[in-house]
Amino acid sequence: MARAVSTRRKLGFTAIAWLIALTLFFPILWTVLTSFKTEGTAIAMPPKFLFFDWTLENYFTVQERSDYFRHFTNSVISAVGSTILGLIIAIPAAWAMAFSPTKRTKDVLLWMLSTKMLPAVGVLVPIYLIFRDLRLLDTHHGLIVVLMLINLPIIVWMLYTYFREIPVDILEAARMDGASLKNEIIYVLTPMAIPGIASTMLLNIILAWNEAFWTLNLTTTRAAPLTAFIASYSSPEGLFWAKLSAASTLAIAPILIMGWFSQRQLVRGLTFGAVK
């Protein structure tokens, strides 16, 4: 239904939208700007917004001191690895619950979600001890497993929702059209499920990338991802705002860029099935 909106109202809404967007974006912008300042300008009062001597010095120092690329690689391995492992486990689970639900399906789903309600720190000690005894501390596979486990409920829930949107009629139509189970999966199910799987994958890479609690507690050097890289700049040696900002900018840049380019897939995935 079209609603007539006066120009003035439109302008008002646009202004409010921009204000909210800028407020949300400002901390990120400020971090990026600070990363180009010297440590002195970074804490100058009154703060300098755009007119200062721009420098790349912080980036060089950061790379030299703590090897950005190693942390970046670790982040990619743990985020992508945990997401893929999660999908391998979650796709059959969500599939079964979406297409052959039982009386207990809803309970199982809620039980899975309930694990997310527990504060992570509540299981820190047991998990830490298990990791220590299994020699998983500061290893890639250990991190992949723990990141997969904490995101698994979300992956299952998202996939379940997408699979539920696939009309059973269409699968039955394929059966009537003479498709074997194999062909049904190849030609009908998979193409229809891919948008949902893709957006689940993107969202989980982002979640795993940003995860800080377990990555900080279970890694030190070898498997440390970018979160540990940032944290190393807020150490007892004192805060170095400009270097911390450079490290943060470097850490969030890849995920921001990825999110920017996959916007369409994300939105399409999230509205998947809305078209009858």
Binding site: P167, I170, A173, D177, G178, A179, Y187, P191
Partner: protein
Amino acid sequence: MGSITLEHVNKSFGGVTVIPDISLEVNDGEFVVFVGPSGCGKSTLLRLIAGLEDLSDGTIRIDGADVSKTLPAQRKLSMVFQSYALYPHMSVRGNIAFPLKMEKAPKERMDAAVNDAARVLNLTDYLDRKPRQLSGGQRQRVAIGRAIVRQPKAFLFDEPLSNLDAALRVNMRLEISELHKKLKTTMVYVTHDQVEAMTMADRIVVLNAGRIEQYGTPIELYQKPANLFVAGFIGSPKMNFIEGKEADTFGAATIGIRPEHFTISDAGRWTGTVGVAEHLGSDTFLYVDVDGIGQVTVRASGELPFAHGQTISLDPIESRIYRFDAQGQAM
């Protein structure tokens, strides 16, 4: 060839029996409509024939061969769904060609069949579009196209027109009837709309609570309804049922008179007051409150200048009075 035989078919879901025991025969080339109120089991029966539901008991034969345990893909039937169930990621061409692709038909045959179907169904200009770019009627045509290309033994239609608007429904009804005349393939069609059933069917199966109330041609059902249920279900507006003293005079527990079987006279058997008069131009529907009987619906041909509150005198046409016993069976 495509005769379908159901022998003592039974279907239960969990502990609930939807179809207790149905046997029926659909002849090759026949257009049979399953009609009944919602929840009567008509869609379940169709899905059993399709193989989308497993039988709890009984046998289904297609061309004499037992297919009770055969997968839907191997029964060589085509189905048109209420929701169209088109493949959203494929073009119209891809949708129509899909059954042939599953048969691994050669490309030339596939193209020829798709083009033929598109021509018959007026879809030639839309072959490269996706289903979401089509209107409801066009989508329904694509679903029919997909059903006809593989030359099935029989077509199954599951309320195919109920998502369309009234005008389009009448058009599609005609198109499906014409298609049947052209292809001469067996069709089994499920609907809750008795007008669709009456206009399209060679024979109608009237279902109620998982049981066959009557199986016959549209005119048989209209002229000789087996019981009160069929009498009330077939015909529009609904048949008038009269019980009590008036019925006794005809020696029945209930008598039924169709709205079109009254004559309006000056000194008829019954006198009443017009409650509502509906003027359609071609017909006039009168809802008359008759003393001692209750409301009676009368359908008169042409335009009659009756209005609310007018007194009217009615005569039922004696030869057209249906008599039912206390069990509701026709006498």
